[in-house]
């Protein structure tokens, strides 16, 4: 899909003129859009694969602990930056912690993406009824 992306000067605002991935379309296509019960039927399968675990619940013990650890680590970075500590000790420890926390967070997201991917991948062979 020839979707052009551009970013704001500082890079904090990203634009896309069209939906360009599952994350963009899942909600608007599955939960929204025109439905007129009396005249049409909605008939589809595979939604479970796409939506299971999509909504990450923030309030979990797992999240609490990650947040606590990350805050601690961000503190340490701030302190070492402020005091200009020699890199040998401080950095080694920080990057270790960072790797660990990032790994945990991204691991969660990867699991979700995998699930989404699975939904697409499984069905791609026999799905050409309605398009392209």
């Amino acid at each position: 899909m020839g979707v052009m992306h551009r970013e704001s000067a500082a890079g904090y605002l990203t634009r896309a003129p069209r939906s360009s991935g599952l994350a963009d379309v899942l909600e608007i296509l599955l939960d929204r859009g025109l439905v007129i019960d009396a005249f049409v039927r909605v008939s589809l399968v595979g939604i479970e694969l796409l939506t299971v675990d999509l909504r990450v619940v923030v309030a979990s013990v797992d999240t609490y602990l990650r947040f606590a650890e990350a805050t601690n680590r961000l503190d340490m970075q701030a302190v070492s930056n402020a005091k200009g500590l020699p890199d040998l000790f401080g950095d080694a420890e920080e990057s270790g912690a960072e790797r660990k926390t990032k790994g945990a967070v991204e691991g969660g997201m990867d699991a979700i993406k995998e699930k989404i991917g699975l939904g697409g991948g499984d069905d791609d062979e026999d799905d050409d009824e309605d398009d392209k």
Binding site: P17, R18, S43
Partner: protein, 234 residues
């Protein structure tokens, strides 16, 4: 049994060649048109390929004039059913109401540094966790951070909504996705106000970024603003 897959409803017009090449065609009735393709077998697979194909078709067509996008997986029995649908007064009403409208979706996420910001007032809990990083201390601190993050999200959402208010006809607010999710909005805007929304958001990032990152998608067909509650026929 064959059926018609419904992508959406639009005004009578020419279908772009690349959509016709994919088997899409229009069933017309009194100046309105159902965007459909033949479907051999139901149900429709809700997979990446089909979802993106549906979005691609309605978004492509919406560039040239209003499209009321159908919910994914919507089927019509035949051409007559399509014409009956097009004859509904509410369809004309929606086409007219959204004549110059588009949807923009806006999603926001925070950088991890948001945690340091929101936990600044939580020094006693942070100190306790630094001193003894036990499970209990971690949960107590994390829970407080999570609450502070919710409050920050609510604050930023207010700021964004307030700033966009002059350009937005309607808005659907959803729970943002993920631990660092900040906001998830569907905005109904006039086509000629899209640039203003863009500019307002650009201004906003000067205030709220970092740690806020925004992603703006559109102009799209008004996916989130076409709900139609009709009683079943007697």
């Amino acid at each position: 049994m064959s059926a018609l897959y419904l992508y959406g409803v639009t005004r009578q017009r020419e279908l772009p060649q690349q959509l016709a090449d994919r088997g899409l065609f229009l069933v017309e009735h009194e100046g309105r048109a159902a965007i459909v393709s033949e479907l051999d077998a139901a149900p429709v697979q809700a997979n990446r390929h089909n979802l993106l194909a549906h979005a691609d078709a309605v978004e492509e067509l919406h560039e040239g004039g209003i499209v009321l996008p159908a919910r994914f997986g919507t089927l019509l029995d035949d051409h007559d059913a399509a014409r009956e649908l097009l004859a509904l007064p509410d369809i004309e009403l929606l086409l007219e109401r959204h004549r110059n409208n588009s949807e923009l979706t806006l999603k926001g996420t925070y950088e991890e540094t948001i945690l340091a910001e929101v936990s600044r007032p939580l020094e006693p809990l942070r100190e306790a966790y630094r001193r003894a990083p036990t499970l209990e201390a971690g949960i107590a601190l994390g829970e407080a951070i999570t609450e502070a993050l919710y409050n920050r999200r609510a604050r930023d959402l207010d700021i964004v909504l307030q700033r966009l208010e002059p350009f937005v006809g309607d808005v659907v607010v959803s729970e943002p996705l993920g631990e660092y999710g900040a906001l998830d909005l569907a905005l109904l805007v006039r086509r000629d106000a899209v640039e203003s929304v863009d500019a307002a958001l650009e201004e906003l990032t000067k205030e709220l970024s970092p740690p806020l990152h925004l992603r703006l998608v559109g102009p799209l067909p008004p996916y989130s603003f076409v709900s139609l509650e009709l009683p079943a026929p007697v």
